[in-house]
């Protein structure tokens, strides 16, 4: 079918609005996550753009006193050994052989052991976990800022998204804005002890300005990409700052 060269009023309007959107949301001129033509995912993207545009810079989530630490249930996957023989092997050896693979848009792709991670300057924070189900819990998390690991690997200027792969088969990503937030850490300690298996051993992500399930457990690989990588519509919002 031959494409008409005539610019219709509708096309002009759509192009104009899209252009205005780009001007209004400069930081979001990079492609936003796919909306799958689904009105719910379009709403999610609107929330993403609105929160990135309207909320003040890299404000920190509230940190609490040690006495505020509360009970915290473990939900979702609570032991990936059911799904992964590799994880089962690592667990038997107290994760001494665990390696975190870092690849993608970085100058020095490679692997880090748990001991390597513990050599970085650590950060400890007592923060509140907001679960999408409606509950909250306060816990102390110790780990290495994700920004330190990304800079250690030499993240390229073109990198825009950080993708995480876990032993229970989950893949998810965050933008650089959240990746470089000071409270975004790869946590190996919880409440003063090593992270336990139900809570994501040996290393989980803590991302304090999004809903709990974005703080992925059981991480084994980090991949930096220049574009948003579509891991498929899982029926949930990709951005969960709300």
């Amino acid at each position: 079918m031959k494409k008409s060269a005539i610019i219709t009023r509708r096309q002009a309007l759509v192009t104009g609005l899209a252009g205005m959107g780009t001007l209004l949301f400069q930081q979001c001129s990079r492609p936003t996550p796919p909306n799958y033509g689904n009105i719910l995912r379009m709403g999610d993207n609107f929330t993403y753009i609105a929160q990135r545009t309207l909320l003040p810079g890299q404000s920190l989530a509230k940190e609490y006193r040690f006495a505020d630490i509360s009970s915290m249930p473990a939900t979702g996957t609570t032991n990936p050994a059911k799904y992964s023989e590799a994880y089962d092997q690592l667990q038997r050896n107290s994760f001494a052989d665990w390696q975190l693979r870092i690849e993608g848009s970085v100058d020095r792709p490679g692997s880090l052991s748990l001991d390597d991670l513990k050599k970085f300057i650590s950060r400890t924070q007592i923060t509140k976990h907001h679960c999408e189900e409606g509950w909250t819990a306060i816990a102390e998390w110790t780990g290495v800022p994700l920004s330190s690991v990304l800079q250690h690997a030499g993240i390229k200027a073109s990198g825009r998204f950080v993708n995480f792969h876990s032993y229970d088969g989950w893949i998810d990503s965050i933008d650089l804005y959240d990746a470089f937030h000071p409270q975004t850490i790869l946590a190996y300690g919880m409440n003063g002890k090593s992270l336990t298996v139900p809570h994501g051993a040996p290393v989980r992500l803590r991302i304090e300005k999004q809903i709990g399930f974005k703080s992925m457990k059981y991480i084994h690989k980090i991949e930096v990409t220049d574009e948003f990588v579509d891991h498929g519509d899982i029926g949930w919002a990709w951005y969960n700052g709300i």
Binding site: I39, L40, R41, M42, G43, D44, F46, T47, A50, Q51, L55, P56, S59, L60, A61, K62, Y64, D68, I69, S70, S71, M72, P73, A74, T75, T78, N79, K128, H130, C131, E132, E133, G134, W135, T136, A137, I138, M190, N191, G192, K193, T196, P198, H199, E208, K209, Q210, I211, I234, G235, W236, A237, G241, I242
Partner: protein
Amino acid sequence: MSHPVRSNSRHARWVRISHGVITVSFLSLAVTGFYILMVHPRLYWGEVGNDLTPAFIELPISRNYKHNGWDEKFAYFDTSGSPVSASRTYDIFNENGWGRSLHFLSAWVLVITGSIYIGSGLITRHFGKRMLPSADSFSFRNLWREFIDHLRSPRSMGNGTQYNLLQRITYLGVIFVCMPVVVMTGLAMSPAVAAGFPIIVSMWGGTQSARTIHFFASIAVELFLVVHLVMIIITGFIQNMKAIVIGK
């Protein structure tokens, strides 16, 4: 106690359109809000609340009610009364994937339309002229008498867009108290908003207090909706619907 009568008083177009949009978005919020509550039908007070801490209210509205599907608890610290952890072993009801997204999409529609409505109402002095009771007409005694009159003979209470004292106070309460409380407590539950503006959480006494107030304020608006519908039907359904849909 008489309010100025204007015989050609109709609902303006912007009132009718915003009323329609807000009605649809509110119904969507009520349904999705109920689905979201079903996922964790427990309410708490303060910053923290979860299945391992005591609830203020537990609602028997889904299979997640008191499910007890937990592995053995272990304490985080060696001290007595230490906070605990436990792993869930129960397949919970959870429709939050679409529930949350539809709730927030509807919330955007409600907040944007509501802001336009309130802005237009202030500019056109809609609230001042039609809703704010005159100083001489307002007294708790009058309010109580109208409340009793509504119960005794609700049919006689309708007078189109000339609102009586009870209507005025109720509408102002829903528009300027209940709805702002619902929106603010909803925003308080957003971790990104809470980080940017911590006062939005602390003003309610914590995330879980905000969630509990969000629930009760929403119930208040839903109760208003029920009474509103009953009054619309009693005072002439067809005529009232014409007034709010086509402005006649």
